[in-house]
């Protein structure tokens, strides 16, 4: 087999500019801003719904225009499509450059950090109406101050996270 050398990664600023453009395209084409983590709520809600609970009855889905769009279900909506597509896009990119590698979990500590980190992030997004995309990357360009506040306090959180990282995970 021919030697497959990887091309060098693209510079960060290229990614930044392209993502900015994509942010705009999503708004123009769908009329709605780019967001991600609501999909994770939908997945959880979808599973709970399968257990027979009437999730659509939850307080959350009856305020702030949070209800599912007409005809959509928790597993069938454009947010689920976009998160699957992002995973696929990354997968295609690594496969093309033959960089794909299964990376197992190294330790119990890593597992806990991943789980707790994910739960913290997931929970936090419901309070701030989004994640690094929905409450920051789309919120600031929407001229809503909550995006700026989210960004500033993400720094605070990151600082605390670094302290925890150094103490327990290094």
């Amino acid at each position: 087999m021919k030697d497959v050398k990887s091309k060098k990664p693209w510079p960060y600023w290229v990614g930044g500019i392209l993502l900015g453009i994509i942010n705009i395209i999503i708004l123009f084409v769908t009329g709605k801003p780019w967001k991600i983590t609501t999909a994770f709520l939908y997945i959880g809600a979808g599973f709970i719904e399968l257990l027979g609970v009437d999730v659509k009855d939850w307080y959350y889905f009856n305020v702030y225009n949070n209800q599912l769009s007409l005809g959509k279900t928790f597993f069938n909506n454009e947010l689920i499509v976009i998160i699957v597509a992002i995973i696929i896009g990354s997968f295609l990119s690594v496969l093309y450059h033959s960089e794909f590698k299964f990376k197992k979990i190294k330790s119990k500590r890593q597992f806990l950090a991943a789980l707790i980190g994910g739960i913290l992030m997931g929970y936090g997004t419901r309070l701030s109406f989004g994640c690094n995309i929905g409450a920051y990357f789309s919120a600031i360009p929407s001229f809503s101050v909550h995006g700026w506040v989210f960004g500033i306090f993400m720094f605070v959180g990151a600082w605390i996270g670094c302290k925890i990282l150094f103490k327990y995970l290094l």
Binding site: V4, A85, G117, M121, G122, A139, G157
Partner: protein, 233 residues
């Protein structure tokens, strides 16, 4: 990249020792083909999904290729004093500001009666809940090694750890959704939406925001040069 003769010598030696990479291109073609089939299905059934599918794949490719990481954009200035990712995010914000501004301008030109919830964009109340949520998210993203998009990218790269992060995300988001009433009654429902154009107009807001982002960009360059290393070591 600044290399040295010692390094080049080591490289030369190692080059002889390492085996040629296995070519994964064939798997790429299979995966790309399946993605195309899915795209074809969407085109015939739901054009919105077709668009979302393509855009999502593009995001995945772009972020993976450029090693883009929002978590690192916040973490690296604190941890190692580099702001290159942070500045890249600022570039994205500046471009988005212009595009979103245009879109909102078009909205206001075409609509007579509207409420603030109708304005296109992510516009929500700001308050203590935002602060708490942001801090939780900031802590979580550093210890989990990535934010929302970073987690998805890394799942695509084969990280089993990020799959666990995703499970955590789902659990956390669902818990958050279930307990939303508590937070809404406590903070959110009494917090204001501060939509800047409401106070100074859309065009001034766009200009002011671009200037502010530009200043932050410039400060980030200075900070990077100053080379602030975390004293935790």
């Amino acid at each position: 990249m600044v290399t040295s003769s010692k390094i080049e010598e080591i490289k030369r030696q190692r080059q002889k020792e390492i085996r040629a990479k296995k070519n994964q291109r064939k798997y790429f073609y299979i995966a790309a083909f399946i993605s195309l089939i899915i795209f074809g299905y969407f085109i015939n059934n739901n054009k919105l999904y077709a668009f979302t599918w393509i855009i999502g794949i593009a995001i995945g490719i772009i972020m993976q290729r450029s090693r883009f990481c929002f978590a690192a954009s916040f973490r690296d200035p604190i941890m190692v004093g580099t702001t290159s990712l942070f500045r890249a995010v600022l570039l994205g914000l500046m471009i988005s500001t212009i595009g979103f501004g245009i879109y909102q301008y078009m909205f206001f030109s075409n609509v007579e009666n509207y409420s603030i919830m109708d304005i296109p964009g992510q516009i929500y109340p700001v308050g203590i809940h935002t602060i708490i949520g942001a801090i939780m998210f900031g802590i979580g993203m550093v210890i989990a090694g990535g934010c929302a998009t970073g987690t998805l990218i890394r799942i695509g790269e084969g990280y089993l750890m990020q799959f666990i992060v995703l499970i955590g995300f789902i659990i956390g988001a669902t818990l958050g959704g279930k307990s939303f009433e508590f937070w809404d009654k406590l903070f959110i429902s009494t917090s204001k939406i501060i939509y800047l154009p409401e106070y100074i107009g859309l065009i001034p807001t766009i200009i002011a925001q671009l200037i502010v982002l530009g200043i932050i960009y410039y400060l980030a360059i200075l900070y990077d040069k100053k080379n602030n290393i975390m004293s935790g070591l």
